[in-house]
């Protein structure tokens, strides 16, 4: 049976803080094993959102952002409409997240009705290296907590088991 909920980590694992989404996805995967929640990674958004999200009822996206509304490591919870400036959701080579969702709707592609984007304020996204800046790495547990709370709220997983995990 196909899972109804997916968590997608967006980013580049060898581009410093741009790897935040991937780091969260990799940390979540074992924690969500057996819950039926799918976990995916993607280096790109744009039209690829249609591949990643099709067939799911709910989706959580995790991406890096640099808009300096808070210090490095700040975690923002955004709607897809608000998530335009996240690093991977802009889709400047094809479509933004919002446009991908509109396109899917127009073409009758089954896309999630609920989408929540967690964006983490990051520092360095232009140095090719593995590993996050300390302030960004420190945000990983918070993002995981937020996602697990949300999944519990959605009734997808049991909150207590996960949040204490």
């Amino acid at each position: 049976m196909k899972s109804h909920t997916v968590v997608v980590g967006l980013g580049n694992p060898i581009l410093a803080d741009d790897g935040i989404g991937i780091a969260v996805a990799r940390a979540l995967e074992p924690r969500l094993a057996g819950t039926g929640v799918a976990v995916a990674e993607s280096a790109w958004g744009g039209m690829r959102f249609l591949d990643l999200l099709t067939g799911f009822d709910r989706a959580v996206l995790v991406d890096a952002i640099q808009w300096r509304h808070g210090p490095i490591g700040t975690v923002y919870c955004l709607t897809p409409e608000e998530a335009i400036p996240t690093v991977r959701a802009v889709g400047y080579h094809d479509v933004s997240l919002g446009l991908a969702l509109q396109l899917g709707a127009r073409l009758g592609i089954p896309l999630p009705k609920s989408i929540v984007v967690f964006a983490v304020e990051v520092d360095d996204t232009t140095t090719v290296r593995e590993g996050l800046s300390p302030a960004v790495a420190a945000a990983v547990p918070e993002v995981i907590q937020e996602i697990e709370d949300l999944l519990a709220e959605w009734g997808v997983v049991e909150g207590t088991r996960l949040t204490r995990g």
Partner: protein
Amino acid sequence: MTGTRISIDPITRLEGHGKIDIFLDDEGEVTETYLQIPELRGFEKFCEGRPVEELPRIVTRICGVCPEAHHLASAKTCDAVYHVDPPPTAKKLRELLYSAFFTGDHTLHFYALGGPDFVVGPTAPAAERNILGVIGKVGLEAGKRVIQLRAGAQEVVKILGGKAVHPVTSLPGGVSKGLTEAERARIEELAKGFVDFAGFTLQVFEDVVLGNPAYVDLITGEVYRQQVHSMGTVDGQGRVNFYDGEVRVVDTAGKPLIQFPAKDYLQHLAEHVEPWTYLKYPYLKRVGWKGFVEGQDSGVYRATPLSRLNAADGMATPKAQAAYVRMYEVLGGKPVHFTLATHWARVIELMYAAEHTLELATDPEITGKDIRTLPTATPDEGVGQVEAPRGTLFHHYQTDARGIVQKVNLIVGTTNNHAAISLAVKRAAKHLIHKGTAPDEGLLNMVEMAFRAFDPCFGCATHSLPGRMPLEIQLRGSDGSLRRTIRRP
């Protein structure tokens, strides 16, 4: 500097994004335009000390948009480092993967990025100038076909590359995985669909763009004319090839200027450095760097779908060749210097990629078992090149005798076009800005259209200059005070 500066920034002012600065003189006329683009740092250092055969898998991570191009440029470079020639079946498998990738990439560019300006119209509200607007004009069925095409191209890449997005198949001397008859048959079936779809897209271009005199005027107008040299890879018969062949540059009159194998790239290309940016501007050594100027005596060149067609003698497949002939007939012969004709060239290349996918899928050798020549020579140094969708891509590696990477140099497609993009933006700005005034929406979109034709992907940075993103222009007085902000959400 006296005068006024106009900056075009992504509205969100994300760190690491590109920026366009337009400088005006005291009369309010454009003097210079500068593209300031961040560069990925540390890639060379990241690669140093690793076994060179790992690079084809690492370089796919440089860029989320064209990992297949980096994978194959890297694979060819590894072949060169190990002095090994892959067997014909291996080369064809790589090329099959690449042709399918090109089909998908060019399709997306046309329908999602380039097409909206023409199909919906350059003066249509920005909110409608997108793929939804295109579907509104061309029909819902076309939208479904775009999605199907894209999925089909990804399926081919996955069958051959091992993964849908970041291929892992290539090794020095060949590929790790052959093709079964069942897989081949599936690819053939998909490729037939690609050719149908490319024909449909050429027809859309014919009906919607060429059928509208205003669009033809826009394409052939002075704003987007750019007379620079043209670079592209050609096969042994001088035809466009994405995977293999020599790099040819024709001059502004279409005469062959240089032709060279990838390994000689440093003999023919040099990089100009400007004090205000750490990005470099490649130019043709033979002509020399004469500044940011167009013309026969300038070393500036373009490496785009249009320049590939200009540089070549024709296309290697029949339908693409017919479309090639048609384009030059309509636009007045070779070479074409209309930047916006790059979109037309891209659709012609889409047909070539589709036809070539089908050709390779039905090649008797494609299911051959001899897919790798084992390297036996001592590795040292190599250069490899492919035509990426956005331009010629060079990889250059040096290793020690154990094959451990000592040095890496890349010239990516957009870097080749760096000076040409700057010039294209300058021309659009000069046309639109007089006495310090500029039409709001017009400036934004017409400047965008200039660089959208190139689909820039600077340094393959993730935070490149956006082709379609909210923009902000800041008009500043000579004292630096903000005079006016033009913003489009």
